[in-house]
Amino acid sequence: AQTVTQSQPEMSVQEAETVTLSCTYDTSENNYYLFWYKQPPSRQMILVIRQEAYKQQNATENRFSVNFQKAAKSFSLKISDSQLGDTAMYFCAFMTSLGMNSGGYQKVTFGTGTKLQVIP
Protein backbone atom coordinates (compact mmCIF):
# COMPACT_ATOMS: atom_id res chain seq x y z
CA ALA A 1 0.00 0.00 0.00
CA GLN A 2 1.10 3.52 -0.71
CA THR A 3 1.69 5.81 2.26
CA VAL A 4 2.55 9.49 2.45
CA THR A 5 4.12 10.96 5.58
CA GLN A 6 4.32 14.61 6.54
CA SER A 7 6.23 14.71 9.78
CA GLN A 8 5.71 18.42 10.55
CA PRO A 9 2.15 19.06 11.77
CA GLU A 10 2.79 22.79 12.15
CA MET A 11 5.43 25.25 11.01
CA SER A 12 5.90 28.99 11.05
CA VAL A 13 8.06 31.34 9.01
CA GLN A 14 8.71 35.04 8.99
CA GLU A 15 7.43 36.96 6.03
CA ALA A 16 10.00 37.12 3.19
CA GLU A 17 11.93 34.16 4.60
CA THR A 18 12.25 30.68 3.12
CA VAL A 19 10.65 27.57 4.52
CA THR A 20 10.82 23.89 3.57
CA LEU A 21 8.02 21.41 4.17
CA SER A 22 8.96 17.76 4.17
CA CYS A 23 7.17 14.78 2.66
CA THR A 24 8.20 11.17 2.36
CA TYR A 25 6.32 8.36 0.70
CA ASP A 26 6.48 4.64 0.38
CA THR A 27 5.74 2.74 -2.78
CA SER A 28 6.99 -0.13 -4.85
CA GLU A 29 5.84 1.57 -8.05
CA ASN A 30 8.28 3.16 -10.45
CA ASN A 31 5.87 5.49 -12.25
CA TYR A 32 3.90 8.01 -10.27
CA TYR A 33 3.07 11.66 -9.73
CA LEU A 34 3.69 13.74 -6.67
CA PHE A 35 1.73 16.85 -5.79
CA TRP A 36 1.65 19.62 -3.26
CA TYR A 37 -1.77 21.09 -2.56
CA LYS A 38 -2.52 24.19 -0.52
CA GLN A 39 -5.68 24.61 1.53
CA PRO A 40 -6.12 28.18 2.82
CA PRO A 41 -8.68 29.06 5.50
CA SER A 42 -11.33 29.27 2.78
CA ARG A 43 -10.90 25.47 2.47
CA GLN A 44 -10.57 25.47 -1.32
CA MET A 45 -7.80 23.03 -2.24
CA ILE A 46 -5.41 24.52 -4.76
CA LEU A 47 -2.66 22.76 -6.68
CA VAL A 48 0.72 24.29 -5.88
CA ILE A 49 3.12 22.12 -7.85
CA ARG A 50 3.46 18.62 -9.30
CA GLN A 51 6.33 16.35 -10.25
CA GLU A 52 6.45 13.35 -12.57
CA ALA A 53 8.58 10.58 -11.08
CA TYR A 54 10.43 9.93 -14.34
CA LYS A 55 11.70 13.51 -14.52
CA GLN A 56 14.98 14.13 -12.77
CA GLN A 57 14.63 17.89 -12.92
CA ASN A 58 12.91 19.39 -9.91
CA ALA A 59 9.66 21.20 -10.65
CA THR A 60 9.46 24.95 -10.04
CA GLU A 61 6.49 27.32 -10.00
CA ASN A 62 7.50 30.89 -9.23
CA ARG A 63 8.35 30.99 -5.49
CA PHE A 64 7.60 27.30 -5.04
CA SER A 65 10.07 24.55 -5.82
CA VAL A 66 10.52 20.94 -4.88
CA ASN A 67 13.44 18.77 -3.94
CA PHE A 68 12.58 15.38 -5.37
CA GLN A 69 14.84 12.56 -4.22
CA LYS A 70 13.46 9.41 -5.85
CA ALA A 71 15.85 6.95 -4.25
CA ALA A 72 15.12 8.38 -0.81
CA LYS A 73 11.38 8.68 -1.61
CA SER A 74 11.42 12.26 -0.48
CA PHE A 75 9.50 15.21 -1.94
CA SER A 76 9.99 18.44 -0.03
CA LEU A 77 8.43 21.80 -0.88
CA LYS A 78 10.44 25.00 -0.59
CA ILE A 79 8.63 28.30 -0.40
CA SER A 80 10.87 31.30 -1.04
CA ASP A 81 10.07 34.89 -0.07
CA SER A 82 7.13 33.73 2.04
CA GLN A 83 4.02 35.91 1.87
CA LEU A 84 1.10 36.27 4.24
CA GLY A 85 -1.12 34.63 1.62
CA ASP A 86 0.95 31.47 1.91
CA THR A 87 -0.61 30.80 5.31
CA ALA A 88 -2.48 27.54 4.77
CA MET A 89 -2.51 23.81 5.29
CA TYR A 90 -0.23 22.07 2.82
CA PHE A 91 -0.83 18.52 1.69
CA CYS A 92 1.57 16.24 -0.09
CA ALA A 93 -0.09 13.71 -2.40
CA PHE A 94 0.95 10.70 -4.42
CA MET A 95 -0.75 9.28 -7.51
CA THR A 96 -0.06 5.99 -9.19
CA SER A 97 -1.83 3.42 -11.27
CA LEU A 98 -3.27 0.55 -9.31
CA GLY A 99 -2.29 -1.94 -11.96
CA MET A 100 -4.33 -3.89 -14.46
CA ASN A 101 -5.63 -6.34 -11.84
CA SER A 102 -7.39 -3.36 -10.27
CA GLY A 103 -8.59 -1.90 -13.53
CA GLY A 104 -5.57 0.29 -14.10
CA TYR A 105 -7.11 3.19 -12.22
CA GLN A 106 -5.09 5.93 -10.67
CA LYS A 107 -5.32 6.18 -6.92
CA VAL A 108 -4.31 9.27 -4.99
CA THR A 109 -3.06 9.15 -1.42
CA PHE A 110 -2.66 12.26 0.72
CA GLY A 111 -0.48 13.00 3.71
CA THR A 112 -1.85 14.37 6.97
CA GLY A 113 -0.88 17.92 6.16
CA THR A 114 1.42 20.65 7.51
CA LYS A 115 -0.12 23.83 8.86
CA LEU A 116 2.04 26.76 7.80
CA GLN A 117 1.75 30.15 9.45
CA VAL A 118 3.51 33.12 7.87
CA ILE A 119 4.27 35.73 10.50
CA PRO A 120 4.35 39.42 9.56
Partner: protein, 118 residues
Protein backbone atom coordinates in the same frame (compact mmCIF):
# COMPACT_ATOMS: atom_id res chain seq x y z
CA UNK B 1 -11.49 26.91 -15.29
CA UNK B 2 -12.68 23.61 -13.90
CA UNK B 3 -15.56 23.98 -11.53
CA UNK B 4 -16.39 21.35 -8.93
CA UNK B 5 -19.49 22.32 -7.01
CA UNK B 6 -20.68 20.82 -3.77
CA UNK B 7 -24.25 21.90 -3.30
CA UNK B 8 -24.28 21.90 0.50
CA UNK B 9 -21.56 23.74 2.39
CA UNK B 10 -22.93 23.21 5.90
CA UNK B 11 -25.32 20.51 7.10
CA UNK B 12 -26.56 19.41 10.48
CA UNK B 13 -28.25 16.01 10.59
CA UNK B 14 -29.56 13.73 13.29
CA UNK B 15 -28.19 10.29 14.07
CA UNK B 16 -29.87 7.69 11.89
CA UNK B 17 -30.87 10.07 9.13
CA UNK B 18 -30.05 9.33 5.51
CA UNK B 19 -27.76 12.01 4.13
CA UNK B 20 -26.99 12.91 0.53
CA UNK B 21 -23.97 14.98 -0.44
CA UNK B 22 -24.03 16.10 -4.04
CA UNK B 23 -21.11 17.01 -6.27
CA UNK B 24 -21.17 18.31 -9.84
CA UNK B 25 -18.25 19.00 -12.16
CA UNK B 26 -18.44 20.89 -15.42
CA UNK B 27 -15.40 19.60 -17.32
CA UNK B 28 -16.57 16.20 -18.52
CA UNK B 29 -14.08 14.46 -16.19
CA UNK B 30 -14.11 10.69 -16.05
CA UNK B 31 -12.84 10.29 -12.50
CA UNK B 32 -14.58 11.61 -9.42
CA UNK B 33 -13.66 11.15 -5.78
CA UNK B 34 -15.07 11.60 -2.31
CA UNK B 35 -12.70 12.26 0.58
CA UNK B 36 -13.26 13.08 4.20
CA UNK B 37 -10.89 15.40 6.00
CA UNK B 38 -10.29 15.19 9.73
CA UNK B 39 -7.68 16.99 11.84
CA UNK B 40 -4.49 15.00 12.11
CA UNK B 41 -5.69 12.42 9.59
CA UNK B 42 -5.49 14.40 6.38
CA UNK B 43 -7.66 13.38 3.46
CA UNK B 44 -8.92 9.83 3.36
CA UNK B 45 -10.52 8.36 0.26
CA UNK B 46 -14.04 7.04 0.74
CA UNK B 47 -15.03 6.08 -2.80
CA UNK B 48 -14.05 6.95 -6.31
CA UNK B 49 -15.73 6.53 -9.66
CA UNK B 50 -13.93 6.08 -12.93
CA UNK B 51 -16.98 6.30 -15.18
CA UNK B 52 -20.75 6.48 -15.12
CA UNK B 53 -22.24 3.77 -12.93
CA UNK B 54 -18.73 2.54 -12.06
CA UNK B 55 -17.30 2.84 -8.58
CA UNK B 56 -14.49 1.55 -6.42
CA UNK B 57 -14.10 1.52 -2.66
CA UNK B 58 -11.45 3.70 -1.20
CA UNK B 59 -9.73 3.33 2.13
CA UNK B 60 -12.71 3.99 4.41
CA UNK B 61 -15.95 3.00 2.61
CA UNK B 62 -17.77 1.61 5.64
CA UNK B 63 -21.00 3.45 6.35
CA UNK B 64 -21.03 5.13 2.94
CA UNK B 65 -22.31 4.44 -0.54
CA UNK B 66 -22.13 6.40 -3.77
CA UNK B 67 -24.08 6.96 -6.93
CA UNK B 68 -22.93 8.10 -10.36
CA UNK B 69 -25.88 8.05 -12.74
CA UNK B 70 -24.54 10.89 -14.89
CA UNK B 71 -20.96 11.72 -15.75
CA UNK B 72 -21.04 15.16 -14.17
CA UNK B 73 -22.61 14.14 -10.86
CA UNK B 74 -21.24 12.02 -8.04
CA UNK B 75 -23.27 11.61 -4.87
CA UNK B 76 -22.11 10.40 -1.48
CA UNK B 77 -24.76 8.72 0.64
CA UNK B 78 -24.70 8.10 4.36
CA UNK B 79 -27.37 5.44 4.79
CA UNK B 80 -27.72 5.99 8.54
CA UNK B 81 -25.66 8.89 9.78
CA UNK B 82 -23.66 8.46 12.95
CA UNK B 83 -21.78 10.96 15.08
CA UNK B 84 -18.41 9.57 13.98
CA UNK B 85 -19.25 10.71 10.47
CA UNK B 86 -19.11 14.33 11.55
CA UNK B 87 -16.42 15.68 9.25
CA UNK B 88 -15.55 17.81 6.27
CA UNK B 89 -16.26 16.06 2.98
CA UNK B 90 -14.38 16.97 -0.17
CA UNK B 91 -15.37 16.05 -3.70
CA UNK B 92 -12.79 16.03 -6.47
CA UNK B 93 -12.51 15.22 -10.14
CA UNK B 94 -9.91 14.68 -12.83
CA UNK B 95 -9.83 13.75 -16.45
CA UNK B 96 -8.46 10.36 -17.41
CA UNK B 97 -7.14 9.76 -20.92
CA UNK B 98 -6.12 6.26 -19.93
CA UNK B 99 -2.53 6.97 -19.04
CA UNK B 100 -0.84 8.17 -15.91
CA UNK B 101 1.41 10.77 -17.49
CA UNK B 102 -0.17 13.55 -19.50
CA UNK B 103 -0.05 17.27 -19.56
CA UNK B 104 -2.34 18.84 -17.03
CA UNK B 105 -2.78 15.79 -14.83
CA UNK B 106 -4.22 17.15 -11.64
CA UNK B 107 -7.16 16.76 -9.32
CA UNK B 108 -9.68 19.55 -8.89
CA UNK B 109 -11.53 19.97 -5.62
CA UNK B 110 -14.81 21.40 -4.53
CA UNK B 111 -15.08 23.77 -1.60
CA UNK B 112 -16.08 21.09 0.87
CA UNK B 113 -19.19 20.18 2.82
CA UNK B 114 -19.17 20.45 6.60
CA UNK B 115 -21.40 17.75 8.05
CA UNK B 116 -22.32 17.65 11.71
CA UNK B 117 -24.24 14.64 12.98
CA UNK B 118 -25.94 15.18 16.33
Amino acid sequence: DVKVTQSSRYLVKRTGEKVFLECVQDMDHENMFWYRQDPGLGLRLIYFSYDVKMKEKGDIPEGYSVSREKKERFSLILESASTNQTSMYLCASRTDPGQLFFSGNTIYFGEGSWLTVV
